[in-house]
């Protein structure tokens, strides 16, 4: 279609054509199949955009409510189905195995006491980007990969998301986190440092992650410097204090 055709579509939908123009337009719809097909898609897209953009807030509210009911439902069913079903012998075996694991774990931790490890602290919480509008397919994939600890994949998806929306702080934060996991500190640290001096909602998390990132690289002094800056009441304050105690 030519540019004029799209302008005509819009004018027709806005009911701004004269009677003669309107008749001509409708006649063309009857005779020109390509014109009709494009018009139908145009109209459908226009309706889609109008609806999606106008109702963004309501849709997001629905999605987050749905998500929380869903999580509750699945947590409950999982714990009840784990509770019964299994046979006693299997349970006994399970306990025996569990006991061995605990014992082994006890020995290992005893040896490692007061030696914190990165893996004790890389609990990133559950990501959920899907309540946002946008490229839902990609957001779902990203969320899943991240929550499954497939950081290589998640990092790639986040890169694409950031290409489309480079200023998005949430994407930036998670992108930095995946790069800490992948030991690409040269990527993660500049992002986090910018965020730590800015005033986004993720400022304190950025500070915590800078601490954690330095700790992972065995730069204890740097790590301590950052961890001390995680303010009381912030997410990860407890973890920051715990790690500080072990490091100092």
């Amino acid at each position: 279609m030519k540019e004029e055709d799209y302008i005509l579509f819009e004018a027709y939908l806005a009911e701004e054509l004269t009677v003669d123009e309107k008749t001509a337009f409708e006649n063309r719809l009857k005779t020109d199949a390509a014109f009709k097909e494009s018009f139908n898609t145009y109209k459908e897209l226009s309706g889609f955009l109008e609806h999606t953009i106008k109702n963004e807030a309501e849709t997001n509210a629905f999605k987050s409510n749905l998500k929380s009911i869903s999580n509750q439902h699945f947590n409950e069913t999982q714990s009840t189905s784990e509770g019964n079903k299994k046979s006693t012998t299997f349970s006994l075996l399970k306990y025996a195995v569990a006991a061995c694991v605990v014992l082994l774990f006890g020995i290992v931790t005893f040896n490692k006491m007061n030696q914190p490890a990165y893996s004790d602290y890389n609990e990133h919480g559950i990501m959920d980007l899907t309540v946002r509008g946008g490229n839902i397919g990609l957001l779902i994939k990203t969320t899943k990969a991240f929550n499954n600890k497939e950081y290589e994949k998640a990092s790639g998806y986040l890169e694409t998301l950031l290409e489309e929306d480079p200023e998005n702080k949430e994407y930036q934060l998670y992108y930095a986190v995946t790069n800490i996991e992948l030991d690409k500190f040269e990527i993660s640290e500049p992002i986090l440092q910018d965020m730590a001096i800015g005033d986004s909602a993720y400022k304190n998390r950025a500070i915590w992650y800078l601490g954690l990132s330095n700790f992972k690289q065995d730069k204890e002094e740097e790590a301590i410097k950052w961890l001390q800056q995680v303010p009381e009441g912030a997410d990860y304050y407890r973890q920051a204090q715990e790690l500080l105690n072990k490091l100092e």
């Binding site: 579509f9 145009y42 309501e58 409510n65 749905l66 439902h73």
Partner: protein, 193 residues
């Protein structure tokens, strides 16, 4: 065609539309367990079932609010068919080969088959439109967002610092560009058979 009678289960559609927690909860309690079982019996796990169910309910919500979805069959059959279809598509994407599937748990009901088919087509289209919209340049995206949020084209033009005529023309061309992108995508032809 004669006017079909709206099923009493339309209350579930209305409840979703109103973001009514009580109804959403009722859907999970009443209709979801069967879907979980089905997915578990067909190479899936609880997490995958959770995603499929959630995405399906979002599609129903979108269709209800955009297209005034009217249920002419029981919600149970409709919802199950939709989730099943979605799960089969996921499996197909993942394995790229034919999968053996336990046969129909429900009796075949033309109305629910037809309605479920319409809804899943709607969902796939939405996904495609969304992807394409994200691919538009920022200038178009911003203009369209402003246009549909503010409604009055005069104000849109003012907020973007352009003339009314220019904003108006730009809007048509941006949707035109999107139209072209959608028409040229291979998925669109699959959806429009």
């Amino acid at each position: 065609m004669s006017e079909k009678k709206i099923h009493e289960d339309q209350k579930y559609i209305e409840g979703l539309l109103q973001n009514n927690s009580f109804i959403i909860q009722a859907i999970y309690d009443t209709f979801v367990p069967k879907v979980i079982n089905y997915i578990k019996q067909n190479s899936g796990d609880a997490d995958q079932a959770q995603d499929v169910i959630q995405e399906t309910l979002i599609t129903i919500y979108n269709q209800a609010s955009q297209k005034k979805l009217q249920l002419t069959c029981p919600f149970d059959a409709y919802f199950f068919l939709l989730c099943k279809r979605k799960w089969l598509n996921e499996l197909k994407k993942k394995t790229n080969k034919e999968v053996t599937i336990n046969e129909e748990v429900l009796s075949k009901d033309d109305d629910s088959q037809e309605l479920a088919f319409e809804t899943s087509l709607f969902g796939e289209k939405q996904e495609l439109f969304n992807t394409m919209f994200q691919k538009l340049g920022n200038a178009c995206k911003d203009l369209l967002k402003a246009t549909f949020k503010i409604k009055s084209m005069e104000e849109v033009a003012k907020s973007l610092g352009v003339t009314y005529a220019y904003a108006r023309k730009k809007k048509s061309l941006c949707i035109g560009k999107l139209t072209k992108m959608v028409q040229e995508s291979p998925q669109f032809n699959q959806l429009n058979y």
